[in-house]
């Protein structure tokens, strides 16, 4: 008589449960929306959690101004479709100082994303922020809790995190403190893709292969999303070649390596992911600066 729930049904129910707990127990929640596939799933889950109400919190995009054009398009479209308020935050300081991924290396991520996120949360007074991080992404994430507590200065104290038993989350905090919540902690990359496939969730077309203008830089393949701007920042016009490429993960276009691919449909993308057998974050430069423990370090500084 028992109906065996599939792993995706169980994961979905867990994520929805987490989101409802946060809404019930925090004062001013927000969902961090980065437009990638994990954000797409998280947004879909939020719509499910509160249907027929729209999700009772806004979306916040901490923008670096260096995202792919197609991401900005998708972002605005999804906000409209979900009926949620979209807040876009750009760190004015980073803007004024012209911080970019070519001249400033790790500082680019720090100023636009890490500092930008802190400033945005402070400015809007959010006390709970949903993020789309998963435990399978990277070794140091495996031990991350679903509710991650931050001090008033957004510091993450690894020694002072709360044990999480059953599905009981302790969301109590004193004024000024905030929580980052990871509702899709227990999803793997394959789960995410399967769920997108099953639920027809719209994702940025960059995940699918197409002929795109590319250039090589430090041994990796990048897309020339805004050639004029690239030329300004790099000091010379990079050599552009048309290639069939797609992206396994999306970030700032000069920081996100492309892969050559013919996968034009979702099943083909999943197929390629399963066959190519290189891990997802390999295309991202961010994990590599600072050696082995870099993600760990970023998190303590306030990065998601």
């Amino acid at each position: 008589m028992a109906r065996i729930l599939t792993h995706l049904e169980r994961l979905e129910a867990e994520s929805i449960h987490i989101m409802r707990e946060v809404v019930a127990e925090s004062e001013r929640p927000v969902m961090l929306y980065s437009v990638g596939k994990d954000s797409a799933v998280m947004l879909h889950l939020a719509r499910k959690a509160f249907y027929p109400s729209p999700p009772p919190f806004p979306l916040l995009h901490v923008d670096t101004t260096w995202k792919f054009q197609e991401m900005y398009k998708m972002r605005d479209q999804m906000a409209k479709e979900s009926g949620m308020e979209l807040l876009v935050y750009q760190n004015q300081d980073a803007k004024d100082r012209g911080i970019n991924p070519f001249d400033h290396g790790p500082l680019h991520t720090d100023m636009w994303k890490t500092q930008g996120l802190k400033m945005a949360l402070d400015q809007f007074g959010f006390d709970a922020a949903f993020g789309g991080a998963r435990r399978d992404e990277e070794k140091s994430r495996a031990k991350e809790r679903i509710f991650s507590f931050r001090t008033a200065t957004h510091g993450w104290d690894p020694k002072n995190q709360r044990p999480e038993l059953w599905n009981l989350y302790n969301a109590r905090k004193t004024k000024g403190e905030s929580i980052r919540i990871f509702p899709i902690s227990n999803w793997t990359e394959l789960d995410i893709w399967q769920y997108i496939h099953l639920n027809n969730i719209p994702i940025v077309p960059l995940y699918f292969s197409a002929k795109r203008p590319t250039f090589e830089y430090q041994g990796q393949l990048f897309m020339a999303d805004d050639i004029e701007r690239l030329e300004r920042v790099m000091g010379k016009r990079p050599e552009i070649t048309e290639r069939s490429i797609r992206f396994r993960t999306l970030g700032c276009f000069p920081l996100t390596g492309a892969v050559e691919s013919d996968a034009k449909t979702l099943p083909e993308v999943i197929q390629e992911m399963l066959l190519t057998t290189t891990s997802e974050r390999q295309g991202r430069v961010i994990d590599k600066d600072g050696g082995d423990a870099s993600m760990e370090k970023k998190k303590q500084e306030g990065y998601f």
């Binding site: 169980r10 129910a13 249907y51 290189t278 423990a293 760990e296």
Partner: protein, 638 residues
């Protein structure tokens, strides 16, 4: 690379027919398990092996693994699987405590979430955390060592948290030459322990080698004498908690009331047990109000039926009050409601349990204030012995009574993890300090009903021609409480009133002789006196009490027990210098010299009443004057 080439092959179906592959993998179920054992038992190697054999390792990770294995591995030129799961930067470099790390892998039949608890310290806390969501526990045993203290501890903890399936994985079989007799002896040893300890869960023995891969995914020729399932086969087929939960009665803790507009009102939650469909008669707890389910709403459309493990929104036929913290249940078989429980508590904080202190308790979606009594005993997790204890320290497991400030909806933990498991939260630091399991409700609440009697408090009082009252004298030691109370009682007696004087010192010789002077004991002292005073007012008496009763909260607690107007707080107001100067019993001198601890006014606070019904100043009044003053204010007595 030769070793990796032979094992590391992706599913052929992926390349041939991706749609068929996706179809297969969409119907997987989910099993959560915990692995118990130390690095020495080969735990990390086993987990690494499971990830590897289920093809959850990417090429770049594999290359890094091979390089690392040669550099820092313990297996010579071979792959050291342990490196896949060990070596978190934080653990390595900062020496911090990590309670649980979660790993993921999947086969065609199931997705698995592994809770891996590193380290020995904090082990109880970590294992309890990991096991709280687990369907199954793998206890790893080194075949050379057999069942050791640690194995028994793991089995006990798994049993305590209600993990129904235990796998005894006898590891490193390769190191004992796949010796069947040795294996059988280990299993028999464990069977004897389980029987003796009263652990009635299913357990299964499997001979394995994490390093060599024996009986992990395929049956090993080295153990031809073993006819049971491989570890992976067992993990893929064992019954899930969720299947059992579905066969129980329907319960859903309400998380959130969904009210987008005036036409829609739904109750959102995760179904903890049972199933629900439109037309079902349901009951809202604790109110007990009933209604009928009209819709089970989701974004994908209304459901004909929803089962345990699904997050849904339910609509009712009637406008029944229902909000966060309530539980929706099947109408004819609702869960219990109570405010006193026997519990087992696992302490998780460096700051030990403060008996009598008020903590937040979260159970399901209910959050209430709760106090814990002194533990009846704690359990030595290595020997299963019961030990006497005054409190619970970090990692201690104790059985204790717990009271909540208002009734909560619950089920015994063995019936429902969702309605029987709770956490305790410190009200100041907000830390999760304890986790517990409710066993049953205690007297007073559900199981002891009030016996209706024909002669009630009114009849008792009428016969005595008086209005029952509690005259609660509070003030510092030496303020004159007992003296004045005695004067008041003498006057009432002359007026033919029925009285009784409960004196602090006298009560401590009998009823409360088991209590000391710690904060917790003082709280309990006052609670008992309050209960006795209440019984006496029920008998129609005018009760006089003379207790320091230093804490406002406890005096207010007694006030709350009495009918409106029957509690008369009399503040015997004497400055500390005056009381200390009098020092009738020589106690202040002792306290000042340090010979007496926790003495009110010296090293323990006195909280003066904000609005006492009567205040007497003993510097300006004699005891007789004060008594006259009190009597005047009490009139009329009926």
């Amino acid at each position: 690379m030769s070793d990796a080439d032979t094992i590391y092959k992706t599913d052929a179906l992926i390349a041939e027919d991706i749609d068929a592959y996706l179809e297969t993998h969409q119907h997987k179920s989910l099993l959560r398990f915990i692995t118990c054992g130390s690095v020495d038992d080969g735990k990390s190697t086993l987990i690494g092996r499971l990830l590897y054999d289920s093809k959850m390792i990417f090429e770049d990770q594999l290359e890094a693994l091979q390089a690392d294995s040669k550099r820092v591995g313990t297996q010579g030129q071979e792959i050291d699987f342990a490196l896949l799961v060990d070596g978190l930067a934080a653990e390595r470099e900062q020496g911090i405590t990590i309670d649980v790390a979660y790993r993921f892998f999947a086969t065609e039949k199931r997705k698995f979430i592994v809770a891996d608890c590193p380290g020995h310290e904090q082990y109880t806390r970590n294992m309890v955390t990991g096991a709280s969501t687990a369907d199954l526990a793998i206890l790893l045993v080194d075949a050379r060592k057999g069942i050791i203290v640690q194995t028994r501890r793991h089995a006990y903890l798994a049993h305590l948290i209600g993990v129904k399936n235990i796998v005894l994985a006898v590891n490193k079989m390769d190191l004992i030459g796949y010796d069947q007799d040795r294996y059988n002896a280990i299993c028999e040893d464990f069977r004897a322990f389980v029987r003796e300890a009263g652990i009635d869960e299913n357990f299964t023995c499997i001979p394995i080698s994490g390093l060599a891969g024996d009986n992990i995914t395929s049956r090993s020729e080295n153990t031809a004498w073993y006819h049971g399932a491989t570890l992976m086969e067992y993990l893929e087929t064992v019954e899930l908690n969720n299947q059992q939960d579905q066969s129980k009665a329907f319960r859903m803790p309400v998380q959130w009331v969904n009210r987008p507009n005036l036409d829609f009102r739904g109750f959102s939650g995760l179904i903890s047990t049972g199933s629900v469909k439109p037309g079902d008669a349901v009951r809202v707890l604790p109110s007990g109000k009933t209604s009928t389910v009209t819709r089970v709403v989701t974004l994908d459309g209304d459901l004909d039926e929803a089962v345990a493990g699904q997050s849904v929104t339910i609509c009712f036929a009637d406008e029944v009050d229902c909000s966060r913290g309530n539980v929706i249940s099947v109408a004819d078989n609702p869960p219990e409601v109570s405010d006193q429980f026997e519990t087992t508590i696992v302490w998780m904080d460096d700051d030990p349990l403060h008996v009598g202190r008020s903590y937040w308790l979260k159970l399901g979606t209910q959050i209430v204030s709760a106090t814990v009594q002194q533990p009846k005993y704690t359990v030595n997790v290595n020997t299963m012995e019961h030990l006497a204890a005054k409190t619970l320290e970090l990692n201690a497991i104790g059985v204790a009574e717990l009271a909540t400030d208002k009734p909560i909806v619950f089920e015994p933990y063995t019936d429902s993890r969702a309605l029987g498991g709770f956490i305790l939260i410190d009200k100041i630091t907000n830390r999760t300090v304890g986790a517990g399991m409710l066993h049953f409700s205690l007297r007073r609440a559900q199981n002891v009903h009030w016996q209706a009697t024909d002669i009630g408090r009114e009849e008792h009082a009428n016969l005595k021609n008086q209005k029952p009252r509690v005259l609660w004298f509070t003030g510092l030691s030496g303020s004159g409480k007992s003296t004045i109370a005695n004067e008041v009682e003498k006057r009432l007696n002359l007026m033919n009133r029925h009285t009784f004087l409960l004196d602090g010192d006298n009560v401590r010789h009998g009823l409360n002789k088991d209590l000391g002077f710690t904060e917790a004991d003082r709280i309990e002292n006052i609670r008992r006196v309050g209960e006795v005073a209440k019984l006496m007012t029920d008998a129609g008496l005018i009760v006089l009490t003379a207790f320091i009763s230093p804490f406002r909260a406890e005096r207010d607690m007694v006030r709350a027990m009495m009918p409106e107007g029957e509690f008369v707080e009399i503040f015997v107001d004497t400055p500390l210098e005056v009381a200390e100067e009098r020092d009738v019993k020589g106690l202040y001198k002792k306290a000042r010299s340090g010979a007496l601890k926790n003495f009110t006014g010296i090293d323990s606070p006195y909280e003066a009443p904000f609005n006492p019904e009567i205040r007497v100043n003993t510097v300006e009044m004699t005891a007789a004057d004060a008594a006259e003053h009190i009597i005047r204010l009490l009139m009329p007595l009926k």
